[in-house]
Symmetry: C2
Subunit: 215 residues, 2 copies
């Protein structure tokens, strides 16, 4: 049976997987919960708890079998297949993303890029040709693109996101600092630098003062 | 008394604040919990719960007083002061960040940038001159920099983060896809695009299948 896992658990599973892939590449066969915890910034108890939901991958005191656990986490996270991605908006962020070498290695194929700026149309960035926004819909359909990365200015973000979803995108990674309004069955994550900076300011400001937990 | 608020609550407070600042700029005086919820992607009940921790900002049925709530959230998040930020690594991500106009508006002053590439030293990006990494320590001290944004290649991230912390940084925003090992009193947030993409894949894969909640 499939299970619904909280966002923070999913993030930890991704981190375990990142570590497991490195270990697997080095042909390490077994990893302890403590080792996994240390390299991902959590506790051994949390690792054991997270992994206990998905079956048994090791014997107490013997650690986890690296290749098996890697494959199982890839299955859980939906990473046994490749995903087709489009970048919407080829400004600084968009072109940084197109140049980011890790995507293909992690199973993400960036197969299209769009911009409204006519001077950018036809540019080729890391093998991807920049297309005009008018070609968004047919391109999403033809290339079976399921993930759209929004890297447009704020003003354009909602419109291009809506169009991408209508053309078949099922997930949106949003770099524009606004809340997108989309159908609830579309998966959305925000990458908002100032939101993270504000979180850091809170942590620095609150550190050292008498604390009472608020969930 | 200061209170320790969970990461997810802090993120929501930041989103409320973003909305409140916009409303305040438009001289809107009152906002309902429903309106705040809609523009930030949560529920009215969650808004009321989040804000109830910090005192009373409105009367039942009358909504919240915009300027008062804005100031209170700025106090809670530590945003009544300005923060000095350095960008470490001036590749694509680093230069995108230096060009990002919203920082100053939100209270963050980018006052330094560093790179190890000698051809980049002396470049001026959005008014900030790129300095060699050898000048990191004296610059952090002189300019009282408290936040370091790590935008170096993976291999360099741990070393520059350690140096920044030793030179006085109290918070790190990390764009390099590795877990940094730093003193526990340093605030750290990660910006990892592939981690977010993997989270989206999980959401898309799990959607539609019978779900049992796992926390």
């Amino acid at each position: 049976m499939a299970r619904k896992i909280s966002d923070s658990t999913v993030r930890r599973l991704s981190r375990y997987l990142r570590r497991l892939r490195n270990l697997d590449r080095q042909e390490v066969k077994v990893v302890s919960s403590r080792e996994l915890a240390e390299s991902t910034g959590t506790t051994a108890a949390q690792v054991r708890k997270d992994l206990s939901h998905f079956g048994s991958f090791g014997k107490r005191g013997h650690g986890y079998a690296v290749p098996e656990l890697r494959v199982r986490l890839e299955e859980i996270l939906g990473l046994t297949r490749r995903w087709r991605v489009a970048v919407l908006g080829v400004g600084k962020i968009g072109s940084a993303l197109l140049g980011y070498g890790f995507f293909a290695q992690r199973g993400f194929d960036v197969v299209a890029a769009f911009d409204s700026d006519r001077t950018k149309i036809g540019w080729e960035l890391s093998g991807v040709r920049v297309q005009p926004l008018s070609e968004l819909e047919p391109t999403f359909v033809d290339r079976e693109i399921s993930i759209a990365i929004i890297a447009t200015p704020v003003e354009a973000a909602q419109e291009v996101a809506t169009r991408a979803v209508r053309a078949g995108a099922r997930a949106i990674l949003n770099f524009a600092p606004i809340k997108l309004h989309l159908s609830p069955d579309v998966a959305v994550r925000e990458m908002d630098v100032t939101l993270e900076l504000e979180g850091l300011c809170y942590m620095v400001t609150a550190a050292g003062s008498a604390a009472e937990d608020i969930e």
